[in-house]
C-alpha cells in the first residue's frame, strides 16, 4: 500500500498552481450552476428529493428482504448472482469468471465500486488487461492516475494534458488540443476494444428488487457497447444500489443527471433484465463495509447516495483542493463520510476537509445530511484517538485558555502585544492562518477592557 498523503498537504501542493486552481474551481462551479438551472426548471424538485430520500429510508430499513427478493428475481431472469463480503472477494469472483472463459482482456465502463476494490490492479497482477472505456477514465488510466471525480474522472486535467497523453499513447498530433479531435481518436481506439473483448464489466446505478433488473446510465454509450458485444457481462454493485420497485426509477432518473451535470437525463438509461441469447450475465453484490455503515445510526444515511457528484461540485474545499487530495475512490463531502467507515486511521483527515458550510446537504438529491455527518465523524475520530497529535494539543491548549477567564485575559493581551509589536511572529509560514491571508490589525483593547471602560465612563457621568 502506498503511503497516503493527508488532505491538507495534498491540497497545499494542488494550490501551488494558482491559475489552475482557479480554473478547477470555476469549472466545477459552472457544473453546479447547470445543476441549479436544471433543478429550478422542475417545479416539484423539492418533492422529488423528499420522495427519493423516503424511498431510500424504506430500502435501508428493509434491506435484508429486498436483497433476497432481488436475488430471487435476478436468478429467475437467468442472471448468475454472486456475493462478496469485501473488495478482495469481489476481485477474486470477477477474476474467476474471466479465467473460466480463458481470456486475458476485459473492457470496463465506469464503476466506482471497482475503484474502491482496486480491481484493475488485482487483475493486472493476475495477467488480465483491463481497459476503461469511459473517456475520462480512459484518459486517467493512460496516465496511471485514479479518477479525481466520480462523474467527471478527468476534471483535474486541461486539454493540453490530454493532448500530450494521447500523443504519447495513441499517436495523435502533437499540440492538437481540439477536444473534438481528441475524442475522435479515443472513439476509434475504443471501438476496436469493444469489438474484440469477450468480457465486459459495468457498474450499476440502480437495481430493482421487484423485477431483478439493473439500470446503467451513461452519456457515451460505452457500457452498452461493451455489454452488447461481449459474451459475458459482469455487473458489480454495492448492495445499497437497491430500490424497491421499477416505478421508483422514475423518481431517481429525474434526479440523477440533473444533479450531476444539469442534463435532463443521461443519454442512455439501460435496463438489463435478462442476458441476451447465448450471453452470460453475472451480478456481484458487494458489502465491503456497507453493512457496518448500516449499523452506525449517525452515518447510515450515507448509504442513500446515488453517486451524482453534486456535493463535490458545490464544495468550496473540493473545488480548491482537487479530487486526488481525498485519497479515496469517492472524493469530496460524500467520500469523506464513506471513507472513515472503511478505514478510520487512514481517512481520519477527510471529515476535517470541510468548512461545514452545508452546501453539500442543500444540493444532495436524496437529502443526506452530509455536513452533519462530517461534524459527527470528527467527534468519533477524536474520541477514538485518530486525529493528529498537533490538532489534539492545539485543541487542549485552546480549551484550557477558554475555560479560565484570567488565562483568557492574559492570552488575549499577549496576542495583541505580539501582533502589534512582533508581527513577524505570526506573519510567517508556520502559522497556517497566515497562508494566503494577511493577519488583521490587532485591536487596541479587548472587548472586556472596552466594556469596563465604558461602564466606568457612564458611571462617572451619573
Amino acid at each position: 500500500m502506498k503511503n497516503t498523503i493527508d488532505h491538507s498537504t495534498a491540497a497545499a501542493t494542488f494550490n501551488k498552481d494558482v491559475e489552475r486552481v482557479n480554473w478547477h474551481d470555476e469549472t466545477l462551479w459552472f457544473v453546479r450552476s447547470k445543476r441549479d438551472k436544471s433543478a429550478h426548471a422542475i417545479p416539484e424538485w423539492e418533492a422529488l428529493r423528499e420522495t427519493a430520500s423516503n424511498i431510500k429510508n424504506n430500502v435501508l430499513s428493509n434491506m435484508h428482504t429486498y436483497l433476497q427478493e432481488f436475488e430471487a428475481n435476478a436468478l429467475k431472469n437467468g442472471i448468475v448472482v454472486h456475493w462478496a463480503a469485501d473488495g478482495d472477494e469481489h476481485n477474486k469472483i470477477v477474476h474467476s469468471i474471466i479465467a473460466k472463459h480463458g481470456v486475458t482482456q476485459m473492457v470496463k465502463s465506469k464503476s466506482m465500486l471497482t475503484e474502491e476494490c482496486h480491481l484493475n490492479e488485482y487483475l493486472a497482477d493476475n495477467g488480465v488487461e483491463v481497459i476503461d472505456s469511459d473517456l475520462g477514465e480512459f484518459i486517467v488510466q493512460l496516465r496511471k492516475e485514479p479518477p479525481s471525480h466520480i462523474v467527471l474522472p478527468a476534471i483535474h486535467l486541461k486539454k493540453e494534458d490530454v493532448s500530450d497523453t494521447f500523443n504519447e499513447h495513441l499517436g495523435t498530433e502533437k499540440g492538437n488540443n481540439d477536444p473534438q479531435y481528441l475524442t475522435e481518436a479515443a472513439r476509434k481506439e475504443l471501438r476496436d476494444t469493444f469489438l474484440t473483448r469477450k468480457v465486459a464489466l459495468t457498474g450499476v446505478n440502480f437495481a430493482v428488487a421487484e423485477t431483478g433488473e439493473f439500470v446503467v446510465c451513461t452519456n457515451e454509450g460505452n457500457a452498452d457497447m461493451g455489454a452488447h458485444l461481449a459474451d459475458v457481462h459482469i455487473a458489480c454493485m454495492g448492495f445499497e444500489k437497491l430500490i424497491p420497485q421499477r416505478k421508483h426509477l422514475g423518481v431517481f432518473l429525474r434526479l440523477l443527471a440533473r444533479s450531476a451535470t444539469g442534463q435532463p437525463i443521461t443519454t442512455f438509461s439501460s435496463h438489463f433484465k435478462k442476458p441476451r441469447e447465448g450471453q452470460e450475465m453475472h451480478i456481484v453484490i458487494v458489502d465491503n463495509g456497507r453493512s457496518t455503515q448500516l449499523g452506525r445510526e449517525d452515518f447510515r444515511n450515507s448509504l442513500k447516495c446515488i453517486r451524482c457528484g453534486a456535493c463535490m461540485n458545490t464544495c468550496p474545499v473540493y473545488r480548491r483542493s482537487g479530487g486526488h487530495s481525498y485519497h479515496n475512490a469517492v472524493a469530496g463531502p460524500i467520500g469523506s463520510i464513506l471513507a472513515p467507515n472503511l478505514d478510520m486511521k487512514k481517512n481520519a483527515d477527510l471529515p476535517f476537509a470541510s468548512t461545514l458550510c452545508g452546501s453539500c446537504t442543500n444540493v444532495c438529491p436524496v437529502k443526506i445530511d452530509i455536513h452533519d455527518q462530517l461534524y459527527k465523524w470528527r467527534q468519533v475520530l477524536v474520541k477514538e484517538g485518530y486525529t493528529p497529535s498537533s490538532k489534539t494539543m492545539a485543541m487542549k491548549g485552546m480549551s484550557a485558555v477558554l475555560a479560565n477567564p484570567s488565562v483568557f485575559k492574559i492570552a488575549g493581551k499577549a496576542g495583541r502585544f505580539v501582533m502589534k509589536n512582533l508581527p513577524f511572529m505570526v506573519n510567517n509560514n508556520l502559522n497556517a492562518w497566515y497562508k494566503q491571508r494577511e493577519m488583521p490589525a490587532p485591536p487596541e483593547e479587548s472587548f472586556r477592557e472596552w466594556y469596563a471602560k465604558k461602564a466606568k465612563e457612564s458611571k462617572d457621568k451619573k
Binding site: 452519456n219 422514475g250 443519454t267 442512455f268 448500516l294
Partner: protein, 195 residues
Amino acid sequence: MSSRDSILSKIKNNQPTSVSELPSLSFLGLDKIDVIETYKTVLKGIGGFCEEVSSLDEVKAYIAAHNPADKRKITTLPEFADIAETEWTNDDPHSLQNVELAIVKAHFGVAENSGLWVTDAILGQRVSPFIPQYLSIIVNKKDILATMQQAYERIGDLDYGFGTFIAGPSKTADIEQSLVLGAHGARGLTVFLIE
C-alpha cells in the same frame, strides 16, 4: 457460513428495527405542460434533431436526402425495406460495426427529457442503437408522455430482456467540459414525430 449468508445476517442485525413506509408517487408529474413543444425544445437542447412528419414516406424522403446512398443502413421496420437491410437481426452483433444508419421505432417518448423508450422487441439486436454512426427513431406524437412518472406507469410490469431510454446522441464532456457529440455511440440522432 457463505458470504451471502453472513452479509445478509449482518444486514439484518444492523438495519433499523422498524420499516419506514414507502412514499406515494401519485402526486408527482402532474404539472400541465405542452408535451410536444417541451419534447422538441429539450431534444434540441441536448443535441438531437426533430422532424415533424405526417407519413413514413416523408421519413423516407428525409433519410434519402440526408444520408449517403452507398453507406450501410439497417432497420427493423418492414416499411423501410427498400432503403435499408432488414435481414440482420440474427447476425453476429459484431457484423453491425460498419452500419452508418439504423432506423427503429420507439414505444414512446418523454417530454421532460426527450428520452425514447426502446426494448428488445423493436431493436432487432440490443447493440443496434449504439453501434451505428447515426440513428433515426420514429415515434408517434400521441405517444409522447409528460414525465418519467407517466413513463413507468406506461411500462408497468412489462417483461423485457433489455430496454433503454435514449435521449439525444452519444456525447461526452470529459475533456475540459467541452461538449463533443459522438463519444462511442451514434454521433447524431434524428427523431421523427409522426402524426
